[in-house]
Symmetry: C3
Subunit: 378 residues, 3 copies
């Protein structure tokens, strides 16, 4: 094992963006659905994907199975061990010291932050990330007058982030409107008019451009780190609207107001890297990407993401959702991909070993600590 | 030779999208024009390109010349052997079992499907792909009233695909309007109005957005596989309008209606991969790209194309047009690039050999057979 | 040392797009600001970037320091040697025979072309590139009536390029409006109306779409090579508006009128490559990119840039600005990256050595000489 890999293996990661895991026993269709964030496809196994290959290769051994185990055997063994044991094994293997958990999507079927940290063992701690669209939709569900919505949302967001353990907010604007938005803060009258239309529809999924802008500007006022989904996701997305470069004008206007964390980014990791290089308050990770492309391509994606990214700007996240396997795969792909990339540069004399080790610790842990200011008291 | 390469070399490929070859003897300017799909440039040899290098390296030996033969010698030897012999050699070298041939462009100077299969030898079979823009333009040329155009096109398309040997339709919407189209099916009145404008101009090249939408929705109704040019091509294209991500809304509306095959894709292979991962009915290939980038870069492009693409979603095509060399180069670049990619993963333990072999057969043959349901009776 | 590397090392490069260097002694904040084209970030050293690593690795030895020297030591040693000696060392190390210098930005603090050539030694010569936006803004500053602006700009541009040593013009339209412009030449009345609005504001930074189009069409009329900033730069840019594919319609209209040189291109090097492949008059380089990504990634970027680029279409530039280190780093990254790429292809039999050597000379020197027709008499 190389020096850089050893250092990354020994590092308790900060996983700055993830979700809970399911505790139900999963049938094979359930499992496959969680594997790819989509519906199952008749006649096609979703194990026949890069992420499926990665699970069979790198997760099967943790369930006492040989590498490349057949999917059926894998899912049966999973059920046999039970969700608690499975989750414990994969979470422990990820060696994550701190989890920042987005609790705003599918919370009813997923472990809450504290249970995640407990399952991980080793004294891990968990913090919460508040999904702002969920805050907005709760207000609509609870009933609000259009002209009161703007303030009600701001107040609710303020209240939500004052809860103990909350360290950041998140927006899925990429899914709702995309980033080709007017960068200006909307006026109160505009917000009221938009809220009127939205609430008249019963206040469904928040996807109105004016209300999304109001949401993003509210985040800027809060000043807490704002996590933004960018790049690929499930089918409910227009990929080209999730290119983070589209946010440039808004980022220019919010310089100094808040840290902005571009999540996932693929296939726009170079566009994201550019933004981290020119805006002091912008950061990126390639979470989600890493387990979907698998360890076989994690290094290649990291190489692109790091071409011009300042070393203080790369963070680690798994974006694991539902399956505890993704904690293990994300951490493995990150550690291995980054270690190979850095060690190669050390070996060819391009990088000093001490710099490589520093960069690895920053990316895996310290950059997140610097931005989120986790309190051990929470 | 590695196990994966041997398997791919022994596989009779299904080339699901290609064109005929020329049977005329070619002068050097003619040859260079076909080499790059453009007009010759005074003072510049179009052999001084990656594809030109690939021809000199990998095609010259099949004409009994040393690798890296000078262009002039190459073109003279080609003339000396005669088109029939040249075509026979390159087509045989491609070891293609099934050709699906787009007959809608330049058909007067190219071999028809059956002649292509005969020249390939080895019991190869050929099927036809109907280019829908050509169907539409033929209707205009034959004379039609604007208010009859919508139905006439639908009927002509239905008739065209009922001909024996037709397995798919194709659209070059990427060239005509690009993909930033209203995803909705146009109404009859809209189609009539658009047809009126188009026919008033004499019914030239179909490039009206409403009529292109009508064409795409007609394809959806036919339910046959629809091949779509995406990504790069000749100068008659706006590359950024050929990003397949722009089709997302239309793909969402046509889920379940037809298989959609994204052709070429470069440099948007990752965007295409995303679409194949989230939409059950979407597939991709990197035809055309492979011979243009040449064997030296084919693996790199395939690596990107496969980062998240489900294994049932990658197909092989050469998109060979005019020069029989492209059949050989496309097949070689595909076999070599894919074999190297897979064998490396086998060698590092990331992939089981049996899975690698399965994936190779799927990509080279079985995925196409599954989609196109070729009939040996045709 | 390999044959290709040796040839590239021995080649006097033509750096077809660069800027002068500073002659002042630089404090560490000054130095860091020039390192990344941005403002310093409190608490973060801009040496902690890929370009900072490249400076510590590859520039420190030229200042008699060990590789990977600490930033503080590096900047102190730089001051100790003095700017003249530092500049001399880095410029000599770049072994550049010809510089084409953009004099339109920050000229007051940078060496003029002749001083640059003198500092480089070895009989280097320097030519000038006229930045057209600066010409326009000077006219506004000098005072002009709106209805005279159109002709005044054309006349001033004509006069500017008649000066001895001028070989090209440049536009930073990418920064001002982006490339999603109406491709048509604006009419005189349109230009006057736009000039009226612009001059009423005092004629600041030229960023009016009509006036930018007028500027680009003036370049087309001049017929001299036009250098266009494309792709990444500093924070004063919308990256997605700098995708050169957006220029397609304008390039189609200007075929035959002038050579167009796409500078930098990253992350759109593949889009730029497509344009060079289909338009006879379009060329590219990956200057600026090379020193920002550093020698560790220069080859990877060149591999993408060359996937389909005709060999007559790749040029070398450093785009060095301010710091003489960038001349050295750009040249090193180009020579090393291109040599590794080509030698690998020679070693695997994909490319004849003679072709590799020819391609290297073309890219490093001859393609630029062919386009710019430098006169040794200037």
């Amino acid at each position: 094992m190389t020096a850089v890999r050893e250092a990354l293996d020994g590092l308790g990661l900060v996983d700055h963006h993830c979700h809970g895991v399911v505790t139900a026993v999963l049938t094979r269709p359930d499992y496959e659905a969680l594997l790819t964030e989509g519906d199952p496809w008749p006649g096609v196994s979703l194990f026949d994907t890069p992420v499926g290959t990665a699970v069979r290769r790198h997760c099967a051994p943790l369930l006492d199975l040989p590498a490349h185990t057949a999917p059926g055997t894998y899912v049966r063994r999973r059920a046999e061990l039970g969700a608690a044991e499975v989750n414990r094994r994969f979470l422990a293997a990820a060696r994550t010291a701190v989890f920042a958990v987005d609790t705003g999507f599918g919370a009813d079927r997923l472990t809450p932050p504290q249970a995640l940290a407990t399952a991980a063992g080793g004294g891990a701690t968990a913090y919460e990330v508040v999904r702002l669209e969920s805050v907005a939709e709760r207000i609509a569900a609870d009933g609000v007058e259009p002209d009161a919505y703007g303030d009600a949302f701001r107040e609710a967001a303020r209240t939500a982030v004052r809860r103990p353990g909350v360290v950041a907010v998140k927006s899925v604007a990429a899914y709702r409107t995309g980033f080709a938005l007017d960068p200006e803060r909307p006026g109160a009258a505009e917000v009221t008019a938009a809220a009127r239309r939205w609430l008249a529809d019963g206040g469904p999924r928040l996807a109105d451009p004016v209300l999304v802008r109001h949401l993003l500007w509210t985040a800027a006022d809060l000043g807490l780190p704002l996590q933004l989904h960018t790049g690929f996701g499930d089918s409910d997305l227009r990929l080209h609207h999730a290119d983070p470069a589209l946010l440039t004008d808004w980022l220019r206007r919010t310089a100094g107001a808040l840290p902005v964390l571009l999540l996932h980014c693929w296939p726009y990791q170079r566009q994201a890297a550019y933004l981290t290089a020119v805006f002091e308050h912008v950061y990126l990770d390639v979470g989600l990407t890493l387990h979907h492309v698998g360890p076989a391509r994690a290094r290649a994606v990291l190489e692109e993401a790091l071409e011009i990214t300042p070393y203080r700007k790369l963070l680690y996240s798994s974006d694991a959702y539902g399956l505890a396997e993704f904690y293990h795969l994300g951490a493995l792909a990150f550690r291995r991909g980054l270690a190979e990339l850095l060690q190669d540069r050390v070996d060819t004399g391009e990088l000093a070993l001490s710099d490589a080790l520093r960069l690895a610790s920053w990316a895996g842990r310290d950059n997140a600590r610097r931005i989120y200011r986790f309190s051990d008291d929470n």
